[in-house]
Symmetry: C2
């Protein structure tokens, strides 16, 4: 166990769970069922096999604070969070983690897991991973193959002969998938792998030599150079290595209750249903619907006489979609991105390293925000050129700097921050601080900010 490491791939910006997921809050950070996010569930899943200090998370720089926040409860060291300046698909991400692990422990063996999958029976995964670890000890590239339970057309398949991989296939059509299911020698490609860091680096050297050279450079340097990373070709580990290597083998896993959560329909399939086949995870009043899924938070959703429909309700965007068409949610996201809207990017509540804010009203000449500052955190020392701010503390206690003066305000007290005043909002206490901020001015966008000093080194 000492030499066993886990590498969790958490860099996806998947748009298929819009409007619940946003570019700044992708699927892996969301709680779907239960209290933990998919990333946290993934960490939980490897804890029987891997010590927390051996868990690595590879993700994108823009998710730095969310990952720090989410891994906090597991004692994963900050140094184990590897942040790519840009997503380059799985081969570079895995290679980067392998290089880090190899440097730390040349005997290191790594379990690679996507951060955004669902597994109902994780104890069965543990069994499969144990077998895989054993096999990887013989310098094999082990892939976990899921025993298919249906002729799914949304997954890639692995054809095996015994434990030997014959070939990787693309997503098949229905007919082909049915054939695969019947033969019994095909497995779903789960994206879960086990191998020695040294072995995967060897394979990268053989099949992706340019990537190998770049990884060597990067690991020697102290910081990841964004210009070097930008030049790396994006390529998947399947296409770049596994389809070419002679050392690949498959360990089958059965009855995991595995799903890649590839769409709202796929997620619905993992949820408990009521007697009408409905999943109603909302404040929902339904009359006579069948096989529908409703996801909401807070707002009342009334449904009548629907069949095979998915409803996802969020503060600023609503999705109503035929259950057979949930793959096309991506089209909506592309459309609103192209239209330069904001609903694909953030929620109304925007997370920040110091807490979060929610725009509760946005109008010509003024904007109202509810701002929450976590204990002992503070915003940057900053100023705005075009707006004044009225702050009313509604919960907790605030320490407020305006120019040279420091003020303390508690619930039911207010303060005024004039335009151009250099100010800072801080929560010096051990409980959350909430303020209502009324901004006044003709220009009220987020980019009207000059940061004089910042705990989080933002520009």
């Amino acid at each position: 166990m000492k030499n066993t490491y886990a590498v969790i791939l958490a860099g996806g910006v998947g748009s298929r769970f819009w409007p619940l997921s946003r570019e700044l809050e992708p699927k892996q950070f969301l709680q779907f069922n239960g209290k933990q996010s998919l990333l946290q569930q993934t960490i939980q899943r490897v804890l029987p096999l891997v010590a927390a200090q051996n868990i690595y998370v590879v993700s994108n720089e823009q998710y730095k604070f969310q990952i720090q926040h989410q891994v906090a409860e597991f004692a994963v060291p900050a140094a184990n969070i590897i942040l790519e300046p840009q997503g380059k698909n799985t081969a570079p991400a895995i290679g980067l983690a392998a290089a880090h692990i190899f440097k730390r422990d040349p005997q290191g063996l790594m379990i690679v897991l996507p951060a955004d999958h669902h597994i109902s029976r994780p104890e069965r995964l543990t069994v499969a991973l144990k077998k895989a670890i054993e096999a990887a000890g013989d310098d094999r590239l082990v892939t976990i193959g899921i025993k298919p339970t249906s002729a799914h057309t949304g997954y890639g398949y692995i054809k095996a002969q015994g434990s030997k991989v014959v070939k990787f296939t693309e997503k098949p059509d229905k007919k082909t998938a049915e054939k695969y299911l019947k033969t019994g020698s095909y497995f779903w490609n789960s994206g879960m792998f086990v191998w020695k860091a040294a072995v995967i680096l060897d394979e990268i050297k053989a099949h992706l030599p340019e990537l190998y050279r770049t990884l060597a450079l990067i690991v020697e340097a102290k910081e990841l150079d964004a210009r070097i990373w930008a030049k790396i070709s994006a390529i998947s580990i399947d296409y770049g290595i596994l389809e070419k290597s002679k050392r690949v083998m498959v360990i089958p896993a059965k009855d995991l209750g595995w799903s890649d959560l590839g769409s709202w329909s796929a997620f619905s399939a993992t949820c408990g249903k009521d007697k009408n086949g409905n999943v109603l995870q909302a404040d929902c009043v339904d009359f006579d619907s069948k096989d529908i899924s409703v996801f909401g938070k807070g707002r009342l959703v009334a449904t009548i006489g629907l069949k095979d429909v998915v409803v996802v309700d969020t503060d600023d965007a609503l999705l109503v979609c035929d259950k057979g068409r949930t793959e096309d949610v991506k089209k909506v996201v592309d459309h609103i991105k192209h239209a330069k809207r904001s609903e694909h990017f953030t929620h109304k509540t925007v997370k920040r390293p110091w807490g979060s804010y929610t725009v509760i009203n946005n109008a010509n000449g003024f904007k109202v925000k509810l701002v929450q500052i976590e204990p002992k955190k503070r915003l940057s020392l900053q100023r705005h050129l075009y707006r004044s701010e009225h702050w009313v503390v509604v919960e907790g206690e605030a320490k407020i700097t305006v120019d040279r003066d420091v003020y303390f305000r508690k619930a039911n007290q207010s303060i005024y921050v004039p335009k151009k005043g250099i100010h800072r909002l801080e929560n010096p206490t051990n409980t959350p601080l909430k303020i209502v901020e009324v901004q006044c001015g003709q220009y009220l966008e987020e980019d009207d900010i000059e940061r004089v000093e910042d705990d989080f080194l933002r520009k």
Copy 2:
């Protein structure tokens, strides 16, 4: 024309347009298509035949300020707004209007119109009403019969022989409706009538003698006594008078483009469709839906691959309903009423005689409202026992009284109103005033108000 009056029945609390309609904002006050509400469209429709000072509106006391506001542009006298303490169906409402008109003008002839119907070609109604006025001159009770264009099962039918009414029927089943349509001697009962006030009072005397006696009492008194009104039996004019009287005749009206707007489906049928048969009156992104209707305001609604679905999106409640089931919206309203929720009663934006307020955030210990005060209007002089209020003016200028002092505040200025402080908010200018109000306290309900003085005589 001098002796011609219009009586517009605007007392309905119809719940079939929920969530757009609410108990405090029923259908007749809503804009469905165009800029005018259904009530205003109805007034507009009789103006070619009736002077504004001869237009009466009968409604419920709780809609007093909304009606005053909506009729303002038509110079309908305040004295012509007749407010029932309770709805008692159409016979008492019509009788009350008839008694008022008869007292004013014994020769008076009245056109009775429901306030919440749709007519695409009002000029054709004018033609039919002119004929009806002529016929009513011969002491007839004239009902406008709509030439059916389909075997509609949602309407009552009138069987006629020439202009003579043979009988009124209830809503038929599909088969019966098809038979009615074929014979050509059946008309839809439109609820539009024309008669002399004296004649309908005579008929009420004959068929509803108790109502007649009560009306006589009420018209003699200066104010409508709620205790007397409470004792009146609720009964429709159709059932109470028209089915019994010998003086009833029908004037057919053709091609009015008439609809009683009885449901979201009925409303959708009156709207223009795109090439896929969709009505998209929302900020909507659709892929491949057919024959759907989406009504929203502001929030992004994405629809994919739907068929025959109605989506109605409002700030605090969402409806997604099969098009064939829109009659059942009533069931949802009954359900939420029974559950003692609030979404059947008001919108997030609540209209007040002085303007409106919107609850933009509601949490434990604080509540945030956006308050709009119309020019020259003011709220009551009031105090709260359990909450303090922070007001930030964000548009216009406010005159604010707190205890013995008067303050003036303009945009980007604020004031604090302490718990128990006697205060008043006033807009002394000619442009709207907007303030953001942050309430702090442990009890934040609307009933924490003591009105010391009120322009609108509220308790």
